[in-house]
């Protein structure tokens, strides 16, 4: 528990504060660690909202904060404040094991839709009555729902018998759920006696609530999290409710990118349109780079301030504790001086004062580039130095284009760290605006730093940060397989793409620097099966953050996979060792993309040879774990 952490070692405190990355695991503690995102006011309006964001972008935290339990916690558990709230949110995470019960060969989809709509009525009524029960516990003197209102709700659910109070209604709904459960378990054999009309019981219940003095002019929100877990037709059922919800309640939907697969209501011609029908809040757009950095800094510093050291609170700024390296500093760390000894000797042998003077003014990394450029272009060092003397500004531009990419080549085929990933700004970039990944990077760095004997507040070395970043990449790669039914394919896709970009980064000679994105080639000859397979793979990869995507040059249709450029999520780049920066792209054919998953060894070779790289290039230390996956002789 966060409240008791002062007794624990700093490492344990950090793990509790930063290591429980998922809101789902923090439970009640999320409220004590809550930092309000800038887009929150938009969610608090009475309009339906769609909150779109990848795994770990904070959807659950925000939706839970809007729930009545969340608002209560955020208002210091003060029952007297409840009546002053402007809205009451009812949270529900779509439960896969429930909703998949409403599918199968036993019935056509239209029948499943009727059954599911009835279940959803029962569910929302049940959740609302739980809220009422909670409310009555905290505000015992408030006016209660009268018998007439309870009866009307009961009638709309086809509940027989006397229903004179909320408690009786709740019990009857529970009985009805049991009866309905038995029916669904035997669905191919029986028809249910009487289904309710979609949305009708919720409308009646919400209207009755709005008549109570304590809820007059208040908004009710159903906060539906993980909307992607619904079956396609179920999304249409709920879309219909969203579109036609009465004035008494609205929906706030949390969904992963590409998880809202159906945008129509049950009427296939009726679309839900932004902004007419709902407000679309894309977390990535709302928390663009600078806003995210500020938000992330607030989140990390707030958590850091909860660490207690010998009874004292630790007030540190995480952006200062995690120092970065400039390219020149990093080059020195990577041993560029040793590598440039031979070029220095070559220049000395030239015995040309002007050229030696130019060389002396170059940083070690720039000198390394002189040698690198000469070799890759088949020039002499003298030629390159002459070029610099003639066109300093042109050279500067070229050097700036290659400077970062050069760092990946200095320690090629050598053991140990081949590239540093350090600094608060770099960590923010590695997280790609994903707060969960950023917390993980900070956690792993600080804990490793303390385990090495460092003190909290002291600077964490670039080496420690880099190893922590590698570990975070590896951990997320190993977890990917368990994220979805496509997890094994996604892991293979990343292992393959990671290897290709790693070889390209370490062997840059004469090629485009920092090539780390791809887009699909236009190929009209694809079979429907391959096209579907590629679409499924890329959709799943984006949904589970194996890949991130950006709109390409054309006007984009969200569902058209060819309109986008793709990149491995930057969190994986320290593990594979290539650039996390959004830079240059290559073209991959759809068949090759599938080949990276289905026959990786052959396809990796093919793609590397296509880009004039050596497929046999040695593996970095951390990838030797996967030797069996990459090397053909194993």
């Amino acid at each position: 528990m966060v409240n008791n952490i002062s007794a624990d070692k700093p490492q344990e405190q950090l793990s509790q504060l930063f290591g429980s990355y998922k809101a789902e695991w923090l439970r009640d503690e999320i409220y004590s660690l809550y930092t309000e995102p800038t887009y929150l006011p938009e969610l608090k309006t009475s309009r339906p909202c769609l909150l779109v964001g990848g795994r770990g972008t904070g959807k659950t935290t925000v939706l839970r904060s809007l729930s009545y339990e969340g608002q209560f916690a955020l208002n210091n558990n003060d029952p007297h404040q409840i009546d002053s709230w402007a809205f009451y949110g009812i949270y529900y995470r779509v439960n896969t094991n429930r909703v998949t019960a409403f599918s199968g060969d036993e019935l056509p989809v239209s029948k499943w839709a009727d059954l599911f709509a009835h279940y959803f009525n029962l569910l929302l009524c049940d959740l609302t009555l739980r809220f009422l029960s909670w409310y009555q516990r905290h505000r015992p003197n408030a006016q209660q729902l009268d018998a007439e209102a309870c009866k009307r709700v009961a009638r709309s659910l086809n509940i027989a018998g006397e229903v004179e109070s909320v408690r009786v209604l709740a019990n009857k709904i529970d009985d009805l759920k049991i009866e309905f459960e038995a029916h669904i378990n035997n669905v191919a054999n029986t028809t249910f006696r009487s289904l309710s009309i979609q949305g009708a019981p919720i409308d009646i219940l919400a209207e009755a609530l709005s008549q109570l003095p304590q809820f007059r002019n208040k908004d009710f929100f159903f906060l539906l999290d993980e909307y992607e877990n619904f079956e396609d037709y179920q999304q249409q059922v709920v879309n219909t409710l969203i579109k036609h919800a009465g004035q008494y309640y609205s929906f706030k939907i949390g969904v992963r990118e590409l998880g809202w697969r159906r945008k129509t209501t049950l009427n296939e011609n009726e679309q839900l349109i932004h902004p007419a029908d709902y407000v679309r809040i894309n977390i990535a757009e709302k928390l663009s780079d600078d806003k995210f950095k500020k938000f992330a800094l607030d989140v990390c510093n707030a958590r850091l301030s909860k660490v207690h050291l010998l009874g004292q609170k630790a007030n540190y700024d995480i952006s200062h504790i995690l120092p970065g390296l400039t390219e020149d500093e990093e080059a020195l760390e990577l041993g560029v001086k040793e590598v440039t000894k031979s070029v220095k000797e070559k220049i000395a042998l030239l015995q040309e004062k002007e050229l030696c003077r130019i060389a002396e003014n170059l940083s070690p990394l720039e000198l390394y580039f002189v040698d690198y450029w000469a070799e890759s272009k088949g020039l002499s060092v003298r030629d390159v130095l002459n070029e610099i003397s003639k066109d300093q500004s042109g050279w500067n531009t070229r050097y700036n284009n290659y400077k970062h990419a050069l760092l990946f080549t200095i320690r090629r085929r050598k053991r140990g760290i081949q590239k540093y990933y350090a600094g608060w700004d770099v960590f923010v970039s590695l997280s790609a605006n994903n707060i969960r990944y950023l917390l993980e990077l900070v956690d792993q760095s600080l804990v490793a730093h303390l385990n090495e004997g460092g003190k909290l507040g002291d600077l964490v070395s670039p080496k420690t940060q880099t190893i922590a970043a590698q570990n975070a990449g590896r951990k997320n790669l190993s977890e990917l397989e368990g994220l979805s039914v496509h997890g094994a394919r996604l892991t293979k896709l990343l292992l393959s793409l990671g290897r290709i970009f790693q070889v390209m980064a370490s062997d840059m000679g004469g090629h485009t620097p920092e090539l780390n994105q791809f887009h699909l080639s236009e190929d009209t000859s694809l079979t429907e099966d391959i096209d579907r397979d590629v679409k499924e793979l890329l959709t799943s990869a984006v949904m589970h953050l194996a890949l991130i995507r950006f709109p390409g040059n054309k006007l984009t249709d969200e569902a058209d996979i060819r309109d986008y450029d793709y990149m491995m999520h930057p969190i994986f780049t320290p593990f594979f060792v290539f650039s996390y920066r959004k830079k240059r792209k290559m073209v991959i054919a759809a068949g090759q993309l599938l080949g990276l998953v289905n026959s990786p060894k052959v396809t990796i070779r093919q793609l590397l040879e296509q880009h004039n790289r050596n497929p046999e290039d040695s593996l970095p230390d951390q990838l030797t774990l996967f030797e069996g996956y990459y090397l053909e002789h194993t």
Binding site: R93, T96, A101, E106, G628
Partner: protein
């Protein structure tokens, strides 16, 4: 592990050949392409006093059973059809061999047979060995499943029950060797972090198997700290598992149990029996793997579990 004075109603045979089903019984079985399911053909020729019901096709929503040369297509969520099949066999003893049957097939069959108060003996053949993975990824030892279809309830075991409070849930994964499946279930179920109570089969089919179970599941166990809560039940004993689940209920009396039977089939049997016995406080969560036919080699012990006697001692 607790020592209990409770019955483990199991007949153990060291080999398949040591076991002969009783005369005048019904033997329901399926074949999954594994060596340990290869003996049925020989039995069908040899054991004339036994009627065999061969499940010839296993689908997500239905199965096809062949009995006396006639195929019966049966929907898993049609109690009348399942009962009709079970009634064909009359009052004879039913052997339900779960070795070659998927959970979604044998679990509803067992539930319906017990509901009809049939005398049911569940049969299971241990494999001699599981196939090792040729190119294992982290935590992967064996090569068992092609893929998973995803979470959906077992037919007949759909539950709409919600816990009284979100925190009032214990998630009990019955561990096998495939840590990915555990990770997937944790991701989907999102149980309260401190109430993941894994059960590992100890003793295992072989002495080293519990260590493989730890190794295979180490990533999700470490990540969720669930390794602190591990409990044990004999790997080939459904009743031992049943009692372990009873212990959990005693420790968490107000909680709903979400049990994931992703370990041994005898453990899955124990979980199904427990769900039958405690209908409203238990939910089974299953990910429906597509098994590789070559996942096991050979056969080892054959076990016969007196399921109906356990559930209703009067039968």
């Amino acid at each position: 592990m607790n020592t209990r004075d409770k019955p483990l109603l199991t007949d153990t045979y060291e080999t398949i050949d040591a076991f002969i089903p009783d005369n005048d019984s019904i033997y329901i079985f399926g074949t999954a392409g594994e060596e340990r399911c290869a003996h049925y053909s020989a039995w069908e020729c040899r054991l004339h006093g036994v009627d065999f019901v061969r499940i010839v096709r296993q689908e997500a929503s239905s199965f096809v059973a062949n009995y006396k040369e006639i195929d019966y297509q049966i929907l898993l969520r049609n109690t009348s059809q399942i009962e009709a099949l079970l009634k064909v066999v009359g009052e004879r003893v039913i052997y339900l061999d779960i070795t070659g049957l998927s959970h979604n097939i044998w679990a509803p069959l067992l539930r319906n047979a017990l509901a009809l108060r049939k005398q049911v003996l569940v049969v299971y053949v241990e494999p001699e060995i599981y196939s090792f993975s040729a190119a294992p990824k982290e935590g992967e030892i064996f090569d068992l499943s092609e893929r998973i279809l995803g979470i959906s309830p077992l037919p007949g075991f759909i539950s709409f029950r919600e816990p009284l409070e979100e925190e009032k849930v214990c998630f009990v994964p019955l561990l096998g060797f495939e840590g990915t499946r555990l990770a997937y279930l944790i991701e989907q179920v999102q149980p309260p972090g401190n109430k993941i109570l894994p059960i590992i089969g100890v003793p295992g089919f072989r002495p080293e198997y519990p260590f493989y179970a730890y190794h295979g599941n180490q990533l999700p166990l470490l990540r969720t700290h669930a390794y602190r809560n591990v409990r044990y039940a004999i790997a080939n004993c459904p009743f031992s598992l049943f009692y372990a689940l009873e212990d959990i209920v005693k420790d968490y009396p107000d909680d709903m149990l979400k049990i994931a039977p992703i370990g041994t089939k005898p453990h899955a049997l124990g979980a199904v029996l427990f769900a039958i016995a405690n209908n409203r406080s238990v939910e089974l969560i299953y990910d429906h793997p597509i098994r590789k036919p070559s996942r096991t080699k050979g056969s080892s012990k054959l076990l016969v579990y007196h399921a109906s006697t356990f559930v209703s001692p009067s039968i």
